[in-house]
């Protein structure tokens, strides 16, 4: 009941925040100059360019242009993506699905490996597993994603040829339909093991690279909150009841240690999206990151603005999910405000 009220309130707030984001993003993007360049070609005459500007309302005052853009947003029109040579709304779904698949895969790896490693390190504090986990997390936090990506690319792609680049093998790709745009999920829906393994083979390497940085943060957080939880009196009290070590760690210590880690997991999702830009470039993953990179290089403002909007939306959704997960895990938390 209480969680539902909170959820409704936050959802009502969402459009307001999005409106603010849209103003900022529109203003900032417009600072970079006229977006007409992406539509014009070098051998156009000044008159032709002026006609082009008039067509896209670029001769109008800036607030009017903003209103036109927002109006388009509500009609499902985010402009023309110069880099994709298609309407933004037509492309963005595919790109989003590709990045989401990558981010979810990386997120799962980061959370499961990170929590397991962090728990182990926290329990076996100052022993070998702890040293390994700490080394791991320092490497993860300090290795640039693009460099780590190249480091894995050389042996596993170049020498061994285990994992291919891109998202799928063309023949296998066209053998099934793609209702979700997430190829592993599509393969499961189509009940095609061949397509599934093909999608997985393409997914593993970029997902591992992307997970590394986020995992490092989760390991560190999990380790320190586990160390803290293990020294709590309720852990001693659980032992005094005669419970075996495994249960004491799992049900008593880890459950509480997961609380601060949940927040970090939510935040690290932001890192995943950030890192996705580099990873997608290196692994030729046709997602949002690759899309926005080429848009920035080409000065394709419609694409850039759409990218920022969708990223903001993802961030807010994840934060909301974390808040709710937190309230579920920690009964002392009272959601409000």
């Amino acid at each position: 009941m209480q969680i539902r009220d909170y959820l409704l309130r936050r959802l009502a707030l969402l459009p307001v925040i999005m409106l603010g984001v849209s103003v900022i993003v529109f203003t900032l993007t417009r600072f970079t100059g006229s977006p007409v360049g992406i539509y014009a070609s070098p051998n156009m005459s000044p008159d032709e360019i002026a006609a082009l500007e008039a067509r896209y309302l670029l001769d109008q005052p800036i607030p009017f242009q903003y209103a036109a853009w927002i109006g388009g947003l509500f009609r499902g029109d985010l402009g023309w993506s110069g880099v994709s040579v298609a309407p933004v709304t037509e492309v963005i779904g595919l790109k989003f699905a590709a990045t989401l698949e990558l981010a979810i895969a990386a997120g799962l790896i980061a959370v499961f490996v990170g929590v397991a490693l962090g728990t182990l390190a926290g329990v076996r504090r100052n022993k070998a597993p702890d040293h390994v986990a700490r080394l791991f997390s320092i490497l993860g936090a300090s290795t640039p994603t693009f460099w780590f990506g190249l480091l894995l690319l050389v042996p596993f792609y170049l020498w061994l040829d285990w994992f291919p680049l891109g998202r799928s093998t063309p023949d296998i790709f066209s053998s099934i339909i793609h209702p979700t745009g997430m190829y592993t999920l599509d393969a499961i829906i189509a009940l095609s093991p061949v397509a599934f393994f093909d999608a997985l083979r393409h997914l593993v390497l970029p997902a591992v690279v992307l997970a590394f940085g986020a995992m490092a943060i989760i390991v560190r957080m999990m380790r320190s909150s586990m160390v803290e939880a293990m020294s709590e009196e309720y852990v001693d009290a659980a032992r005094a009841k005669g419970l075996p070590n495994k249960i004491v760690i799992r049900r008593h210590a880890r459950r509480n240690a997961l609380l601060p880690t949940t927040t970090v997991i939510g935040l690290s999702f932001g890192f995943l999206l950030q890192g996705a830009v580099a990873v997608e470039l290196i692994f030729r993953w046709p997602g949002l990151g690759q899309w926005v990179t080429s848009a920035v290089l080409a000065g394709d403002q419609a694409t850039i603005m759409a990218y920022v909007l969708i990223t903001a939306l993802i961030f807010m959704t994840v934060n909301l999910a974390v808040d709710i997960a937190y309230a579920y895990l920690d009964r002392r938390v009272v959601l409000g405000g």
């Binding site: 009196e233 309720y234 659980a238 005094a240 009841k241 005669g242 609380l259």
Partner: protein, 395 residues
């Protein structure tokens, strides 16, 4: 006192590794607890009384802690004597919560904030009373399936539990009812009103006194032979303290269990303890019947401790605090640890560690004022002034 004792701590020494060296938290501590008896282990913060208590359940973390010497023997009825310090992990687990339980200083910290009261109590039954739960659910323990056992033990995973509830609805309900009944019964036993409602609450929804009642219910769920109460009232409001102590006393009388109080509150000792053991800097310095020791303390430290209690007749500003502070425990010198704060201290006190010495039947003191120079092979002039054991103590 041959086989009458329930617990026998013999020459227990616990040390903690630290950067500066080993901290001698407990040194050569020996005492016995009889069945049904109440012993109070008294001393100031850091004297090693909590470490001693935790050692009895082998709860001192290793490392940094280390049991360097001694034994803690538990006389299990019908099973003989078990040395807790050298027993296997399995044996110790079977003792914890079943033969010996413990309640902690701050019930707010000793209850897991993210589990309901009911599920925390159920764990005790799941650990020690699986057969009882299965039987009262109408399942023969020998014939119980793996899933049923796991549910009774509170070890079933979420998926397993849901699956079982779907496929064998009546048995799942019976098992749940059996667990809930056991939990509610133990809560009601400690005078908690409306136990079914309390079971579903989380610790933060209860008051301090209520939480301590829950801790007591949890500790006594399996009818232990010994309850260790580590400062059970320190974190509670004064108005609640007496009620909790009376509850413990009441439960003790009804079940005939022994209680070991760890406390620095001498009024608890006066009211509830049969015997007292005073600890200072890791050593027991004086033991004896509570009333006698309090009425007529023999060790200078016990004397000082009693003098530090404010009294109606104590004039303002004349509270006799013990001068100085507790000596360092890291690599302590071979001497009486109280010597630096003792008005009687002499040459002999700085060269030897005094051992507990029987001064009267049932009373022991570790002080050179009660020993002869010959037995220590030191010059008579180096000995402190001998104590006069007053007539009142002899009575």
């Amino acid at each position: 006192m041959s086989q009458d004792w329930l617990l026998k701590v013999d020459n227990l020494s616990v040390r903690f590794q630290s950067r500066g060296g080993d901290a001698h938290a407990v040194e050569g501590v020996s005492f016995e607890i009889q069945r049904g008896e109440t012993l109070a282990l008294v001393g100031e913060t850091g004297c090693g009384k909590s470490v001693t208590a935790r050692s009895i359940l082998r709860l001192v973390p290793e490392p940094p802690g280390k049991y360097v010497a001694g034994s803690i023997k538990l006389n299990v009825e019908g099973k003989g004597v078990v040395d807790i310090l050298s027993a296997s992990t399995k044996e110790v687990m079977a003792i914890r919560g079943e033969r010996i339980s413990m309640i902690f200083q701050d019930p707010g910290k000793a209850l897991n904030p993210s589990l309901t009261i009911g599920s925390q109590l159920a764990e005790v039954f799941g650990q020690h009373r699986v057969e009882m739960i299965l039987e009262s659910a109408g399942i023969e323990p020998a014939r119980a399936s793996r899933a049923e056992k796991r549910i009774a033990k509170q070890r079933a995973s979420f998926v397993q539990l849901r699956f079982f509830q779907l496929t064998r609805r009546s048995k799942a309900a019976a098992l749940q009812k059996s667990i809930d009944d056991a939990v509610a019964r133990s809560l009601a036993d400690t005078g908690i009103p409306n136990p079914r409602k309390i079971m579903k609450s989380y610790p933060h929804e209860l008051s301090g006194g209520m939480k301590q009642r829950v801790m007591i219910a949890q500790a006594l769920a399996c009818d232990p032979d010994l309850l260790i109460a580590d400062e059970p009232t320190t974190a509670l409001d004064v108005t609640i303290q007496a009620r909790i102590l009376e509850l413990i006393q009441d439960m003790q009388k009804r079940r005939g269990m022994a209680v070991l109080y760890i406390t620095h509150d001498l009024s608890i000792v006066r009211e509830f303890a049969d015997r007292i053991a005073v600890m200072y800097a890791g050593h027991i310095v004086e033991t004896g019947p509570a009333q006698e020791v309090l009425a007529n303390p023999q060790h200078p430290y016990t004397n000082g401790l009693l003098g530090a209690i404010p009294h109606r007749r104590t004039p303002r500003g004349q509270l006799a605090a013990i001068p100085g502070s507790v000596p360092q425990l890291i690599d302590p010198p071979e001497q009486c640890h109280f010597a630096s704060r003792c008005q009687w201290a002499a040459e002999a006190c700085l060269g030897h560690v005094p051992q507990l010495h029987t001064i009267q039947p049932n009373r022991k003191v570790a002080c050179f004022r009660f020993e002869e120079a010959e037995s220590l092979s030191v010059a008579k002039t180096d000995m402190p002034i001998p104590a006069e054991i007053s007539g009142e103590a002899r009575r």
